[in-house]
C-alpha cells in the first residue's frame, strides 16, 4: 500500500508499516505546509482567515463596512441603498426631533395626506422655520392660489378684530385728499390719482380696477373753511366705472353750490 494524501491540503500520509527512513521527512514537509498558512502568525485572508490578530485589524482587512444606522442618517452599504424601491410608510420612530429626513433625496413619506395628530389630545403644528424657508407643495411655493381659506374664516376675522358671525367685506380702494388750494393726496390705497375737474368736482382713479361697477362709494368730508355747511356724494352723470368714480363736494345751502372740500375721504367697498 503506497502513501496517500489528505483531501484538502494534500498532505502526505505515510504508508503504515512502510516509508522506512522517509516518514520523518514527509511529516516535516506536512508541518511546513501547514505553517506556511500562517505567514505572520495570522491566517491570511487569501487562505480564508482575517489576516488580523485582533478584531479591529480583522475588520479592517475584511474591508470597510458601514454602521447601518448612524445618528439620524440611514446609510448605504457598498454604495447600495439599504432601502428597496417603493414608499416607506411614515412611522413615529422616523421622526428625530422636529425633522423628517429624506433618503437619497427621496422623502420618507409617500403620497397622500400627512395627518398631524390623530385626536384632540395628540395635535401638532406644522412649522416651516429658518430664514428663507418656504412651504412648498408639488415643488411650488405655496401662494395665494394654493392657500385655501373659507370666505368667512374665523381666523381672518380675528386678525381684523372683527367679532360675531356676520361676514366681513374688504375696502378695495380709499383716499384722503385736500381738495382746496394746492390739491394734494394725503394717503391712499389702490388709487393711482385724483383728477381735479373743477371746483368741488373730483374723480378718484383706481390703480387696479375693481371687479365691477356695483361697488359702494362711501364719501365723506368737510368744507374746511368757516362752517359745517357741507354736502358730498357721487356726481350725477359722472364717471362710475370699474376704474374710477367721480364725486362732488358742495354746500347744503344756497342751492347746493359746489365748493372745494378738505378733507375729502372716499372709500370703495365691493
Amino acid at each position: 500500500m503506497a502513501d496517500t494524501t489528505t483531501t484538502n491540503l494534500s498532505l502526505t500520509k505515510p504508508e503504515v508499516g512502510a516509508s522506512t527512513d522517509t516518514w520523518g521527512g514527509k511529516i516535516n514537509a506536512n508541518l511546513d505546509a501547514i505553517s506556511a498558512l500562517f505567514p505572520s502568525n495570522d491566517l491570511a485572508v487569501a487562505n480564508g482567515g482575517t489576516g488580523g490578530s485582533d478584531a479591529a485589524t480583522a475588520r479592517t482587512n475584511l474591508g470597510s463596512q458601514e454602521t447601518l444606522v448612524s445618528g439620524t442618517n440611514i446609510k448605504t452599504l457598498n454604495s447600495t441603498s439599504l432601502l428597496g424601491s417603493g414608499n416607506i410608510a411614515a412611522q413615529a420612530t422616523l421622526v428625530s426631533g422636529t425633522n423628517i429626513k429624506t433618503v437619497n433625496s427621496t422623502s420618507l413619506l409617500g403620497s397622500g395626506d400627512i395627518v398631524v395628530g390623530l385626536s384632540d389630545g395628540d395635535k401638532g403644528d406644522i412649522t416651516v422655520s429658518g430664514s428663507g424657508a418656504t412651504f412648498t407643495i408639488d415643488n411650488t411655493v405655496v401662494t395665494d392660489a394654493k392657500l385655501n381659506l373659507s370666505a368667512n374664516a374665523s381666523n381672518i376675522k380675528t386678525a381684523l378684530n372683527a367679532t360675531g358671525s356676520a361676514p366681513i367685506y374688504a375696502c378695495r380702494a380709499w383716499v384722503n385728499f385736500n381738495g382746496t388750494g394746492a390739491v394734494a393726496i394725503r394717503a391712499s390705497g389702490n388709487v393711482s390719482s385724483i383728477t381735479d375737474n373743477g371746483t368741488g368736482n373730483y374723480t378718484v382713479n383706481f390703480a387696479t380696477a375693481v371687479p365691477d361697477a356695483n361697488y359702494v362709494a362711501s364719501i365723506s368730508g368737510a368744507r374746511g373753511t368757516s362752517n359745517d355747511d357741507f354736502r358730498c356724494g357721487i356726481k350725477f352723470g359722472g364717471t362710475y366705472s370699474t376704474s374710477a368714480v367721480q364725486i362732488f363736494t358742495g354746500v347744503a345751502s344756497s342751492g347746493g353750490t359746489y365748493v372745494d372740500g378738505n378733507p375729502v375721504n372716499v372709500s370703495i367697498f365691493r
Binding site: V175, F177, T180, G181, A182, V183, A184, I185, S188, N190, V191, S192, S193, I194, T195, D196, N197, G198, T199, N205, A207, A244, D260
Partner: protein, 60 residues
C-alpha cells in the same frame, strides 16, 4: 412734484394729482388721462393755488 393737465371737453382744465401707488407719472398719465386727450406734465408750482375762479381756468 408733478401734475398732469389736459383740456376738458367743456374747455376747462383738468388736473391729475398722482398718488403714491408705484406708478410713474407717465404711467399714470397713460392710464388716467381720457383716451385721445393731449396732456402735459407740469410742476405743481405751475398750478395756481387760488381757486376762486377755478372753473374759469384755461390752458395756455
Amino acid at each position: 412734484m408733478k401734475r398732469i393737465i389736459y383740456q376738458t371737453n367743456e374747455g376747462g382744465v383738468a388736473i391729475i394729482v398722482p398718488a403714491d401707488c408705484g406708478l410713474t407719472i407717465e404711467e399714470i398719465a397713460a392710464k388716467d388721462v381720457p383716451d385721445g386727450k393731449p396732456y402735459s406734465i407740469v410742476d405743481v408750482a405751475d398750478i395756481p393755488t387760488d381757486r376762486t375762479f377755478r372753473n374759469a381756468w384755461e390752458m395756455t
